[in-house]
Amino acid sequence: MEVTDMVKRSRAGDHKAFRVLFETYYPEAYRTAYLIVRDSQLAEDVVQEAFIKVFRRLETLKEPAKFSGWLHSIVSYCAVDMLNARQNCVLMADDSAATGDGVLTAGIPSPETETERAELRCLIAKALAGLEPIHRQVIVLRFFREMNEQEIAQAIGCPVGTVKSRLHRALKAIERKLYALRPSTVRGEGYEANHPGGAGTRSAGQGSP
């Protein structure tokens, strides 16, 4: 059945239609929440809270066809909100040892083998877990939900410039954490000058400043 239909019927108080929406979008909403909060119990609470908000504000959704994007923006908002409320309940333990703060980096060289790539993915996942909630929020919306900067700005209710700077900072923070975890994976400052035109030489924030 069409999402638009389901949304319209839910607005009219049809609980069955709302249940269909819930069942259809729950897995993806949960994944988005989990990637931001990194705690399964908290992710469940986030999705519950998000669907309650959806139920309350369904009337305000102008384009029912955009339900999915709207839902994920509410999920990400609730996730950051709940993380801020709990603050110290999140996986920040690894963070203290691997912040790499103060390190100037100049991008990641392209991994040559699939093994190397998989290893880097693993390190990046660790680095992601140590990011600030607001940075993880934009990273998840941009790279998991594949929303563009304008859509993210609309979703989290802040200017596009703020989204750009958060993305830039988040990517830089990931690079620094990677450097702290394994210095050989990240080039130090000055690499560009010595290796012009190398693969992956653009600075990490250039794609989405």
Binding site: R19, F22, Y34, V47, Q48, L128, R202, S208
Partner: protein, 277 residues
């Protein structure tokens, strides 16, 4: 714009992590949400009522603060009630002007009634005393000793007056009811020497309301309410002297278990409730 190596890797890392994430059971999640949605709907329903109440209070306050309105209101309402109750008006020297030392609120129903000699109970009392004072509105609950004989289940139809002699405490009744809702019937059932159940049935034009009260004999202090978990759901346990009641939701199905077995055994049964194979 072409993504950087880092962006590509972040995307891949997130996709892998999302793929590896174990999503909880949707049915259980829905059951949890359904409880909150029903609370939400009740809250939604309450807001307009609160709005009306606040508006009414504000209007009342405004009326009492504006002297000309106050006199006009007294004059108008006094005149109307004097017109409709000419006989009772005789007992009042001046049905229109309230004496300056009158203690009741000008313009209120009670002040108006006292001016005209009528005995009108307060709004809260009106609801609770309705079945006794207006037996015509409770056709199935005859007054006095006319309570119906107990049926095979031991259930009797009784009146509030009957209950006063049966139950050793004042019966709690709702002081608020929707305007069209009236008490239709009261039933009383003695389950065993230590437990009695009385049920109040209210009915309106479109809605109904049932209030069930269990009377745990002479040991009411021993009754306890607590929260527990049945499977993955929150459950409420009400332990009384005469038995245990456990209520919970299982995949959006409301289950209520009542037994005169012990609490431990009742919980064991509740935990074991599962779809029949």
């Amino acid at each position: 714009m072409k993504p950087t190596i880092l962006e590509e890797l972040v995307q891949e890392a997130l996709a892998k992590e999302a793929h590896d994430t174990v999503v909880p059971d949707v049915d259980q999640a829905w059951a949890r949400l359904a409880v909150r949605l029903s609370q939400e709907e009740r809250r939604r329903y309450r807001w307009p009522q609160m709005g009306i109440l606040v508006a009414g209070l504000a209007a009342g306050l405004l009326c009492s603060l504006l002297p000309p309105v106050q006199y006009a209101q007294q004059y108008l309402l006094g005149g109307i009630s004097a017109f409709y109750q000419p006989l009772k008006a005789e007992s009042t020297a001046n049905p229109i002007i309230t004496p300056p030392d009158a203690k009741t609120e000008p313009g209120s129903d009670s002040s108006l009634a006292s001016r005209n000699g009528a005995q009108t109970p307060a709004a809260g009392q009106l609801q609770t005393q309705l079945p006794e004072e207006t037996p015509s509105q409770a056709p199935a609950a005859p007054s006095g000793d006319a309570s119906q004989a107990a049926g095979p289940s031991g259930e009797q139809v009784v009146t509030l007056a009957d209950l006063k002699s049966i139950v050793p405490y004042p019966i709690p009744l709702p002081s608020y009811l929707p305007s069209d809702m009236k008490l239709e019937r009261i039933t009383y059932r003695k389950v065993d020497p230590s437990l009695a159940v009385l049920t109040l049935y209210y009915r309106g034009a479109e809605h109904s309301l049932t209030i069930k009260q269990s009377v745990p004999g002479d040991d009411a202090a021993a009754a306890k309410v607590k929260r527990t978990r049945i499977g993955n759901s929150d459950a409420t346990v009400l332990a009384q002297k005469g038995g245990v009641t456990i209520m919970w939701l299982k995949n959006s199905l409301k289950i209520e278990l009542h037994t005169n077995l012990g609490e431990k055994e009742a919980l064991q049964i509740a935990q074991s409730v599962a779809p029949a194979s």
